[in-house]
Every structure is written in structure tokens, then in C-alpha cells.
């Protein structure tokens, strides 16, 4: 605990340092150093808890209503702390370089808020009672709103902030209701008391699980609650997008898992619901991502997809619990947690690399980019590793967690009860993998390969170490997890066992990781590397024996190729989007000599905004009530008092 507290203090100190040294040359360097040191200290107890399968906690006596303020680290919070501090440190260092490009927006408010947001996120996952949890939850919500508004001069950012604040408060409302139901039968408001008081009637449990799905679902952003996510991720600075996608939305997943530890094994319908939501979220998320032209919006939709994959693991785990297969539950939850960590890593790489592209070219529109691999080779390297990880190919970390989710679903197919129907989700997940491959070939190919499609990408240069270093470090971690899952899987299984209510000893977790084949993944990675190396040697030998020359790309004999003749991102994605028809959300406008297509969000533009207009019109009807005359308002007050008095009289008469 002392490490975590000092780490958090360093983060707060970093915020104050960057504010007080805002006109100082070294302010940013001090800020970055303090954040990295704070994250480094904070990650120590999390790793310790996770590898030793223990938990630490400490309480602060409070005179306020709501009981003591208890904070602690258990295996579940430790996973999220590791993702938070790992991504946080990399994104903060990157942020210093990123914000320096924009001379009009002062950087210090963003930096200070970023450090404080890290603290708020850490408090959310460490809170062990209702009061500190909700307090930290609101701090987190407000902090992220202000971070979205960093570039408040753009109308786009203001709109994204508005949508976000409405969405997050709907979620908070659901959480208040959920905790109210939970706390009814418990002695105090600490999580440990809530967990022991779960002999509550099944109606209350249904209410809690349903409200959790809404309250935490808005934050996690699965379909149809994802609508705030693409605008917010697109409008925020790129390192903030990385933090949002890597950690903030994962807090929703944390909340769902935490609720499972509070109410015990969820009923089967909840598991099926979560699995179904996960599958639809994964398929629709990647489909909508394919339709995007804005590189950051595209990445945001991929977060919707990956939240779906995480939910599939979570749902399979819940089903394992519901049907009484504890090992399946551990595997499912462990897969969900590992994918949470992995997604935090590779999605941060992608957002940071996309941010570097945006800064160096001034556009996020893929149709204006191209040929950046030659101009930004290190950014390209990081991006291609991140892409390979997100589509889930070996030997990278994304493969390990998707393979675990697959394995959970395959194993579910072996059972004799209704659980075996869960195997039907297998082809769905495979389709998601195939679509993700298409999508990242599109991004990587159109943005980085070929020839520049506009002067903006023609004039791009190397972004420098501050923008290239952090994503490359994260890419190295992705390769490490992908090649040596045997080191990372056991702690995830410990956390999964913690959620499933089957505590595992480190030794048991290692045995289970070996049983599912974690070691062989390393062997496969080694075989892949050795085979490729051997073939490379042969290829080099063969290439040396023949004459080699350079020429233009073959254009079927056409002598004057131009960059505009290249395939565009839209045409690349068109065949796949046409298969899915209206579901893909692409609206095409055809004229005699023009063709223009745009993608709309089926939920935001199709449902939320129209319904919002209906509510607004209804609210306007209430306008006459509010006229600004004091006499009117006094009349309202008096009539309310009279009505209450009448109510009391009637009640007294009844007795």
C-alpha cells in the first residue's frame, strides 16, 4: 500500500509541478519524470499482489455518512492497475512531445489533468467501499470530460464532450440505483460487507446485475451503449485517446467483474446476455470501423470490437460459473482479463502512432495520406506490430488472449448441458478476426504504404524520439507477452479465479497455464522465427544469384501512373461493407458526376439524436412554467407546502 500511496502522491506532485512550472523550460521534463516515477512505484504492489495471489487493504475512518473509506489491492484491481500505470507512463511521455506541436493550445492544463486522471482511475479500481468508489468514479468522469475538451476551440470537441457527459451520467444514475439495491441488506457500505450479505432475494440480484450492465456498460462502450466513444476518442489529444481506449473504458469491465464478486455466481441468462452482447459488439464494432475514413474514429470503433471480445470471455466465464464448471469460469475470466491488458497495450500503440501521423501531416483523413512508411519508419514499425497484435496473429499478445477465448468456447462445447450451445460463438469470433485483418490492412496499406495521396503526407518527416519511443516500448511488451505467455498467464488466471470465487495458489495457476498450452505457444513462436530466419537465408542466397534492378510499379503498360490512381480506403472496404448492406452504416450519395459516401453511427445518428430531439420538444412544453417572475415562483412554493400539508392530514386521518 505504501508504494501505491507514494506513487499516487508523485502523480499529484507531477500535476502541481507542471502547473507551477508552466512558464519554465524544464517544466515538461520534470512532469514526465515524476509521472514515470509515480507509475513505476504504483505498479510494484500490483505486480506483487498478482504474482503472490494475496490482497492488501487499508481503511481510513470517516466521520461522513457512508462509512469508512477503504482502499485495497486484490488480484482483480491489480490487473487494471498494471494496465493503467503501464499505459499511463508511456502516454504521459508521449503527451509532452505531442502537445508541443500545437502552439495555440497551452499544454499544462492537459498534462496536469492527465496526471490527476491517472490518480482518479487508480482510486476507482482500488476503492473497496461504495463512497470512495462513487467519489473516484465521478472524479474520473469529470477529469475525462475536461481532457476531451482540451481542444475546446473545435466545435467537434465540444459536441463530443456534451455527448460524453450525458452518457456518463446516465451510467452513474444506474450505478446509484444498483448500489442502493445492493446496500439494502448489508450491514455497512464496504465491499466485503456487501459480498457477505448476498443472500438477498433473487429479484434484487436480477436488478443489480441488470443495472450493472447499464451503468458499467456505458463506460465500457459495447453496442448499443458505445455511441459516446467514437466522437470522444477522435476529439481528444492522441495520448488521451490511448488512455481512454486502454484504461478508461476498461473500468466498465472492471465494474462488471467487481459486481460478480459482490453478488456471487450470476444466473445463466446473464451469462448468455453478456456473451450475446459481446458477440454483436465485436462484429458490429469491426464492421463500423471498416467504414471509417478518420483514422482515430476507426481505432475507436475497434475498441468497441475489442470490448466485445473481452465480454465474450467474461460471458463464457459467467456461464461456466452458472452451469457449475469452475475451471471454465477461471479460464473465461482469465481470458477476458488478459485481453483487457493486451488491448490496453496494442490500442495505445495504435493511437500513439496515429497521433504522430496526425501531428506530422495535419490530417486524420486516410484518403489524404499514403507513403508514410518511408517518411516515418519507426512509427510504421510500431503501427505494424500493433496491427498484427490487434488482428490476433501469432507471435503477438493479441493472439494469446484470443486463443484463450476460443479455447474457453471450444471447451464449453464439450459439456453435456445447455452450455455447449456457447460453441456457436466460435465462428463469430473468427469472422471478427477476418474483418479486423481487412480493416488493418486497409489502414496500414493506405496510410503508410504506396505513394502519398496529398502534399500533406508528401511533406511529413520523422516525428522524433518522444513520439516514436513510447509506442515502440509498448510494442516490445506486446512481442514479449506473445512469445512468453507462460510468465503472464498465471497471474491472469489467479485474478480470474478470484472473480470466480475459486482462489488459486500461484503453483496451481502455473499448472493450469501449462495445461492449456502456454508453453507450446512459445515453442510455436520460436519455430516461426527460426523457419522465417532459415527461409530468409535461402531467399538472400537465391536473390544474390540473379540480376536485380529497380523500376516503376507495373501498371499494365500505362506509362504515367499517378498517386490518385491508387486504390482508396473507401474502395478497399467497399466489397465487405456491401455484403453487410444497411448494417454497415454507409450512406452513399450518387449524382450525375459525383459520388460521395459517408459513414453514420446507427445508434448515435439513428436513435440517440432523434430521440433527444423528441425529449427536447417535450421539455419545451414545460417552458411556460418558468417565466422568471418572483410572484409565480412564490406561488409554486406555497402550493407545494399546501399540497404536502394536505398529504400529511390525509395520512393522519388514515391512522
Amino acid at each position: 500500500m505504501i508504494f501505491l500511496l507514494s506513487g499516487l502522491s508523485l502523480l499529484v506532485a507531477a500535476a502541481f509541478a507542471v502547473i507551477s512550472m508552466r512558464n519554465h523550460r524544464r517544466g515538461n521534463a520534470v512532469f514526465a519524470t515524476l509521472v514515470v516515477a509515480g507509475c513505476g512505484l504504483g505498479i510494484v504492489p500490483a505486480v506483487q499482489v498478482l504474482y503472490s495471489a494475496t490482497a492488501v487493504r487499508s481503511g481510513f475512518a470517516s466521520a461522513l455518512p457512508g462509512g469508512d473509506w477503504i482502499f485495497g489491492i486484490d488480484p482483480l484491481s491489480a490487473v487494471f492497475l498494471i494496465a493503467l500505470f503501464g499505459v499511463g507512463a508511456a502516454a504521459a511521455v508521449y503527451g509532452v512531445g505531442y502537445m508541443a506541436f500545437d502552439s495555440r493550445t497551452p499544454a499544462w492544463p492537459c498534462h496536469a489533468l492527465f496526471a490527476l486522471e491517472l490518480v482518479a482511475l487508480a482510486l476507482v479500481v482500488c476503492a473497496q467501499a461504495i463512497m470512495p468508489f462513487m467519489g473516484a468514479w465521478e472524479l474520473m468522469a469529470i477529469g475525462s470530460l475536461l481532457l476531451i475538451l482540451t481542444e475546446y476551440r473545435h466545435a467537434e470537441a465540444r459536441r463530443a464532450g456534451l455527448i460524453y457527459i450525458v452518457a456518463t451520467h446516465v451510467g452513474t444514475l444506474a450505478l446509484f440505483a444498483m448500489f442502493a439495491v445492493l446496500a439494502r441488506t448489508s450491514s455497512d457500505w464496504s465491499f466485503s460487507a456487501l459480498a457477505t450479505g448476498t443472500t438477498s432475494p433473487s429479484g434484487a440480484r436480477i436488478a443489480v446485475l441488470a443495472l450493472a450492465l447499464v451503468g458499467f456498460g456505458v463506460k465500457a462502450g459495447f453496442v448499443p451503449l458505445h455511441f459516446w466513444l467514437p466522437p470522444a476518442h477522435a476529439a481528444a489529444p492522441s495520448h488521451v485517446s490511448a488512455l481512454f481506449s486502454g484504461v478508461l473504458i476498461k473500468v466498465g469491465i472492471y465494474g462488471l467483474l467487481r459486481v460478480i464478486t459482490l453478488v456471487g455466481p450470476p444466473p445463466a441468462w446473464w451469462g448468455w446476455l453478456v456473451l450475446g452482447l459481446g458477440l454483436s459488439s465485436a462484429v458490429l464494432g469491426v464492421l463500423w470501423a471498416l467504414a471509417q475514413h478518420d483514422i482515430k474514429r476507426l481505432l475507436a470503433y475497434h475498441s468497441v470490437e475489442n470490448i466485445g471480445i473481452i465480454l465474450m470471455g467474461l460471458g463464457a466465464g459467467a456461464l461456466g460459473q452458472a452451469y457449475g464448471h469452475p475451471s471454465l469460469a477461471i479460464l473465461g475470466y482469465g481470458a477476458a482479463l488478459l485481453h483487457t491488458l493486451n488491448h490496453a497495450l496494442f490500442k495505445s500503440i495504435l493511437f500513439l502512432a496515429a497521433g504522430a501521423v496526425y501531428r506530422l501531416t495535419g490530417t486524420r483523413n486516410m484518403e489524404e495520406l499514403g507513403g508514410l512508411a518511408r517518411r516515418m519508419p519507426l512509427t510504421w514499425l510500431a503501427f505494424v506490430v500493433g496491427s498484427a497484435a490487434i488482428i490476433g496473429v501469432p507471435p503477438l499478445n493479441g493472439f494469446v488472449s484470443e486463443w484463450l477465448v476460443f479455447q474457453t468456447l471450444f471447451r464449453a462445447g464439450f459439456s453435456a448441458d445447455a452450455l455447449r450451445i456457447a460453441v456457436l460463438a466460435v465462428p463469430g469470433l473468427a469472422l471478427v478476426g477476418g474483418l479486423a485483418l481487412a480493416c488493418f490492412v486497409k489502414v496500414g496499406g493506405v496510410v503508410f504504404l504506396g505513394t502519398p495521396r496529398s502534399s500533406r503526407s508528401l511533406s511529413a518527416s520523422k516525428p522524433g524520439l518522444l513520439l516514436d519511443g513510447p509506442p515502440l516500448v509498448l510494442a516490445a511488451v506486446c512481442v514479449f507477452i506473445g512469445c512468453l505467455p507462460v510468465l503472464v498467464l498465471p497471474p491472469m488466471l489467479i485474478a480470474g479465479g478470484f472473480v470466480a470465487g475459486v482462489p488459486l495458489l500461484p503453483l496451481e495457476a502455473r499448472a493450469m497455464a501449462a495445461a492449456v498450452g502456454a508453453r507450446e505457444i512459445s515453442i510455436m513462436a520460436a519455430v516461426l522465427a527460426l523457419t522465417a530466419a532459415a527461409i530468409w537465408l535461402i531467399a538472400q542466397g537465391l536473390r544474390r544469384t540473379v540480376p536485380v534492378r529497380q523500376s516503376e510499379t507495373w501498371g499494365c503498360g500505362y506509362p504515367l501512373p499517378s498517386a490518385r490512381m491508387q486504390y482508396t480506403a473507401s474502395s478497399f472496404a467497399a466489397p465487405l461493407l456491401e455484403i453487410f448492406g444497411k448494417l454497415s452504416g454507409v450512406r452513399a450519395h450518387r449524382g450525375a458526376s459525383v459520388f460521395h459516401s459517408e459513414s453514420v453511427d446507427l445508434i448515435l445518428d439513428g436513435a440517440v439524436v432523434p430521440w433527444w430531439a423528441v425529449i427536447e420538444r417535450a421539455a419545451l412544453r414545460l417552458r411556460p412554467l418558468q417565466q422568471g417572475r418572483l410572484s409565480r415562483y412564490l406561488m409554486y412554493v406555497i402550493s407545494t407546502v399546501v399540497a404536502l400539508l394536505a398529504y400529511l392530514l390525509v395520512r393522519a386521518g388514515d391512522r
Binding site: 507513403g371 518511408r374 463469430g428 478476426g433 490492412v441 496500414g444 504506396g450 492449456v516 529497380q550 510499379t553
Partner: protein, 308 residues
């Protein structure tokens, strides 16, 4: 795994690697016989590869390092996926729970690099081919995993070696043959799509606009092209071997017999491709998803039968 057994698996892999260029030859020979033409000899691909190995290479000035990685990554991925398949009918060199997923995803890694290499040239034709390739591959992946899930449900196994090399497959053939017949049919439909054969792609076309797979490798030449052509032939053999092992369980047989069954199965796949190619034309592109959906539906029926 004991050393002699391992040598057996390795020897089978070497046999398959040597025979791979023969299968497309058998397909085209079948076609030429059925359409009463003289046709190319069966070992045409061997001589093509030998010729390409001595030809010079031309690299486009637009391309980067990823273009030169394509033949290496593609071939490495196909070889590694082959090492996860129980070619000799009993076990693979590499087996672990969930290696079915690894098998498909290693092939996907090869495709990822291949398609990026196509976009690396900046050619509009290759962009078009890349777009078609990833579109159909995503759909094929869907159908392929339905077949894998059915096999896993039938045999209660998580690895290819367990599914295809154990007694469980023979037991399933005895108990629910209709389901397995549908899986075999579905896999053959998907094989034609995945390995770019008719009716999805026409390997004999000379018009870039109608190509899928050929157009992606338009800018590769010399030894690079030889390696890519070889990798494609090997991929056809690998998926053909998977099909052969599902269709013909060889549990109790001796090693020589099992190898014979494998080679016979591969030849049968080649003849099957030739028969399809000589009897039907390439489908219009918008019809291809329906074709793949049909293949997937076959496996889906099998899965429903087995889940009953």
C-alpha cells in the same frame, strides 16, 4: 514425443513439401483431359519454379522492406501451419490445446504480410486484388471455424492432432457419418475459395481486372515469385491434407499405409479441383459471398446435428 516418432512426422512433412507443386499440375491435367485438350505436363509447376529461380528480379521503386518480406513470411507461415497438422495421420510435430486456432491464425499472418506487400506497390490493380482477397478470406475464416467447431464437438478434442489423429474421429464416422460428410463437402467448397481456384478465382485468366490472387503478386518476380508460387501450392496441399485426414481416418494402419492414404487424398483433391474447373465457370464477384455462405451452411448443419 519420442525421437523416431518425431522423425516420422518430419519425414511426412518433407514428402508433402516435395509433392506440393504436383497437385496444381494434377488439377490442370484433369481439366485438359476432361476438355479433350493436350494441356501442360503434370510437373509444369516444377519447371516453372526452376525457371523463375534463375530469372532476374525487378523491384518497384515505390516498395519498402515489407515487399521483400512477403515471400519469406508467406512461406514460413505455410510451413509452420503444416507442422501443426497431423499429416501422418497420428500426430503433428507441434501439438497443443487450441492449435486449431493457431493453425488458422498463422495462415492469417502470412496473408496479412502478402496483402500489405500488395498495397506497398501503390498499384491500383494490386489494391483491388488485396481488397478482394481480404473480403473473401474473412468469410472463409467464418466457415472454416464452423467446420473446426463441429470437429471439436464431435471428438471432444482441442488440437488438430487430437481431432484428426485419434480414435474419436473413426468413432464419429461410425456414429454420425452424415455430419462428417457435410463437413468434408463444406471444407472442399472453402478450399476452392481459400486457395483461389475456380469458381471463386480463375488461375488461368490473363486479365488483371478479373484476378484475385494472381493480381496481388503482379510485381513480384524471379526467385521471390517462385517462393510465392511454391507457398501457394504448399498451402493447397496443407488444406488438402486436412480435408483428406477428415475424410479418411487411418488410426490402425501402418506408417506406409497412412502415407499412401495421404498422397492418394492429395491426388483426389487435385482431381476434384480439375473436375470443378472444367465443369463450371468463374462466378461473378458479387455471387462469391453466397458461394462461401453455402459452404459454411453445410458445416453449420453438421454442427447443429452434432450439438443435438
Amino acid at each position: 514425443m519420442r525421437a523416431p516418432e518425431f522423425m516420422m512426422h518430419a519425414a511426412t512433412l518433407v514428402v508433402v513439401m516435395l509433392l506440393a507443386p504436383l497437385i496444381p499440375g494434377i488439377a490442370s491435367r484433369t481439366r485438359s483431359i476432361l476438355t479433350a485438350r493436350r494441356g501442360a505436363p503434370v510437373w509444369q509447376l516444377y519447371s516453372d519454379l526452376w525457371k523463375l529461380l534463375r530469372r532476374g528480379s525487378v523491384y518497384s521503386r515505390t516498395t519498402t522492406v515489407i515487399f521483400r518480406l512477403v515471400p519469406i513470411a508467406l512461406l514460413a507461415c505455410v510451413v509452420v501451419s503444416a507442422s501443426m497438422l497431423p499429416l501422418d495421420g497420428r500426430s503433428a510435430m507441434l501439438r497443443f490445446p487450441g492449435d486449431v486456432v493457431a493453425f488458422a491464425y498463422v495462415l492469417a499472418l502470412g496473408r496479412f504480410v502478402l496483402v500489405l506487400g500488395a498495397l506497398d506497390t501503390g498499384s491500383s490493380f494490386e489494391g483491388m486484388g488485396a481488397s478482394r482477397e481480404v473480403t473473401f478470406a474473412a468469410l472463409v475464416e467464418f466457415g472454416f471455424f464452423i467446420a473446426l467447431a463441429s470437429l471439436s464437438v464431435a471428438t471432444h478434442e482441442l488440437s488438430l492432432s487430437g481431432m484428426l489423429g485419434s480414435r474419436a474421429l473413426a468413432v464419429t464416422w461410425a456414429s454420425s457419418a452424415p455430419a462428417l460428410i457435410m463437413i468434408v463437402g463444406g471444407l472442399f467448397v472453402l478450399l476452392l475459395a481459400e486457395c483461389s481456384r475456380s469458381p471463386v478465382d480463375d488461375p488461368t485468366t490473363h486479365l488483371e481486372l478479373t484476378m484475385i490472387h494472381e493480381v496481388i503478386v503482379l510485381d513480384h518476380s524471379g526467385p521471390d515469385l517462385a517462393m510465392i508460387l511454391y507457398a501457394n501450392a504448399l498451402k493447397l496441399s496443407v488444406i488438402g491434407a486436412l480435408l483428406a485426414r477428415v475424410a479418411m481416418p487411418t488410426m490402425g494402419l501402418s506408417y506406409a499405409m497412412r502415407l499412401g492414404v495421404l498422397v492418394a487424398g492429395l491426388f483426389a483433391v487435385g482431381i476434384g479441383i480439375g473436375v470443378v474447373e472444367s465443369s463450371m465457370a468463374r462466378l461473378r464477384l458479387p455471387k462469391v459471398p453466397l458461394y462461401i455462405a453455402g459452404g459454411s451452411a453445410l458445416s453449420a448443419f453438421a454442427l447443429i446435428l452434432l450439438l443435438q
